[in-house]
Subunit: 316 residues, 2 copies
């Protein structure tokens, strides 16, 4: 970040017509955003929401409440404007770009081999990196992929340790039998690939949409575009970047705390306090898209409030 | 609320292209709003933010970090468009109405008598009731008044009991000496007026802006207009209605959890879970105004998402 711009933001904040600190996290959000944009006058006028979709070999084991065909059906729904993220993108004035990643060729079952070949993995990372518009001033990374909470749980378990099975949650609403299978699948994946480094784990246990989100987060950094992270799956993918290069997520904030088991643990480990806690667990970038409004509020106050001197208000 | 409209909202929610419950609190917000509007197609297009300003006799005792003149200065700032709430109102597409209540005549010091005469009190309640536009489809009640966290702390202490002094917080940022005075003032007020009923406490310990917020909340109910409550002062005023008539706040939600000491205790007592928790403590309706966006997101998803049948998506 640009320390001069961030310092200018702090200086301006101290002059605005409010008691010091009275806007709480809105004040730190404005400073964070301005620092990364390197512009004291920065506003968030052109947010870009990126959704990556992928399919997962492990779904054949019965880890999800929904059939794998739903990934492609939901991509069609995104393109037709019918999903939750379409409504939230419109509310936020954000562009919404959908990238379906080889849906007809699911990743390999990670309990028996690498989820992605090196070529597949690099292609997915590059799709994410290239999906970021250099003109965007904020990026939200979201996903769709039946089975991908299983992939994310295995990735988080391998990155952070602890009881592997306990990272498995209900996802879209899997029943007790499916949850038992899911736990065993996660344990088997960690057992097979757990010795990999963070970026190897993303290849072996992740999916194309997870790799693409990681690529987009890194690509946004190269353009100094701040990122709002979404829920469990996005955060697991992002965590592999942070473990590989500490500080790699400094240009990101956590948009919300998902109801999916394990998300809070990931955010704690990353030292990120979520902006929203609304019990959402949909994916699609939905929680992060809603959090765009919080950032907009922070910047509107920061850029447009009067100072004590301008307004003739006594500053205590 | 209209049970038929709320049931229609639940029925529609179950058909939308998402796993059941995956939008978390957005789903209950949409149902709550639709139930109170009595219209399954309800949207929040015309929110109205009401700010009431008043002055307080207890400020002469040194309970605030800012001089009493700041109330009138901030009213001028609201009218000129320079305060935080102006920016947040614009972001939310809300109208903003400012009502300054006899600023040149502070309430009486509640440690020696009733803060308001009966005539003053009724006039403030009526100002609030009459300020609600029947055409609004959402109301946010906010306030400005140097010294009013002292008034709200005394009111909350008298309504909810416990160690009276512990309800006093830092407000706009009072120092240790001021906080000690504030505690003694709150204790003295509760000692003098604590035997009053809830609406008597609002008269004896409140201020004109607190009474006006209570009047507006009640007036909105008469028009079936849902209300988003703001922080500590707004919630204390609202609590006097709920204690007088249980259920009187059913048409309200808590917009945010303020950083001001005591707000969480009030919300717990009211059974309200705040939509936002961002460490804000500004008043002016600012937290509630930001929460309008959450409600808007909930309604956008509810009203505009495709159903499983419309989108051709398998529902699991």
């Amino acid at each position: 970040p640009d320390d001069t711009a961030a310092a200018a933001a702090r200086d301006r904040d101290a002059q605005l017509t409010k008691p010091p600190g009275a806007l709480g996290r809105l004040e730190e959000l404005a400073e964070w955003y301005i620092g990364w944009r390197g512009d004291p006058a920065a506003r968030c006028n052109s947010p870009q929401i990126l959704i990556f979709a992928g399919n997962h070999g492990v779904t054949a084991q019965g880890v999800s409440a929904f059939p794998a065909e739903v990934t492609a059906q939901m991509v069609a729904n995104f393109r037709a404007g019918g999903a939750a993220i379409n409504q939230l993108a419109r509310l936020a004035g954000a562009t919404l770009d959908i990238h379906a990643l080889s849906l007809d060729t699911p990743t390999a079952d990670f309990t028996t081999g690498h989820a992605m070949s090196e070529a597949d993995y690099v292609a997915a990372l590059a799709t994410g990196w290239g999906a970021v518009s250099p003109e965007a001033d904020l990026v939200v990374t979201g996903e769709m992929g039946i089975g991908n909470t299983t992939s994310a749980a295995a990735l988080a378990a391998a990155l952070f340790g602890g009881d592997a099975g306990s990272w498995a949650g209900r996802g879209t609403g899997v029943g007790d039998d499916g949850l038992s299978i899911k736990r065993r699948v996660v344990e088997a994946g960690v057992s097979l690939h757990g010795q990999q480094g963070p970026l190897g784990l993303l290849q072996c246990l992740g999916g194309r949409e997870l790799a693409a989100m990681a690529g987009a987060i890194a690509g946004a950094r190269a353009h100094r575009i701040p990122v709002i992270l979404d829920g469990f799956i996005c955060s697991a993918a992002a965590a592999s970047l942070e473990q590989a290069v500490p500080g790699a997520l400094d240009h990101t904030v956590a948009g919300h705390l998902s109801a999916e088991a394990g998300h809070g643990q990931i955010l704690d480990a990353l030292g990120k306090i979520p902006l929203l806690q609304l019990g959402m667990r949909l994916g699609e970038g939905s929680g992060a898209a809603l959090a765009i409004q919080i950032l907009r509020g922070a910047l509107a106050c920061h850029q447009d409030m009067a100072t004590f001197a301008e307004a003739g208000v006594s500053d205590g």
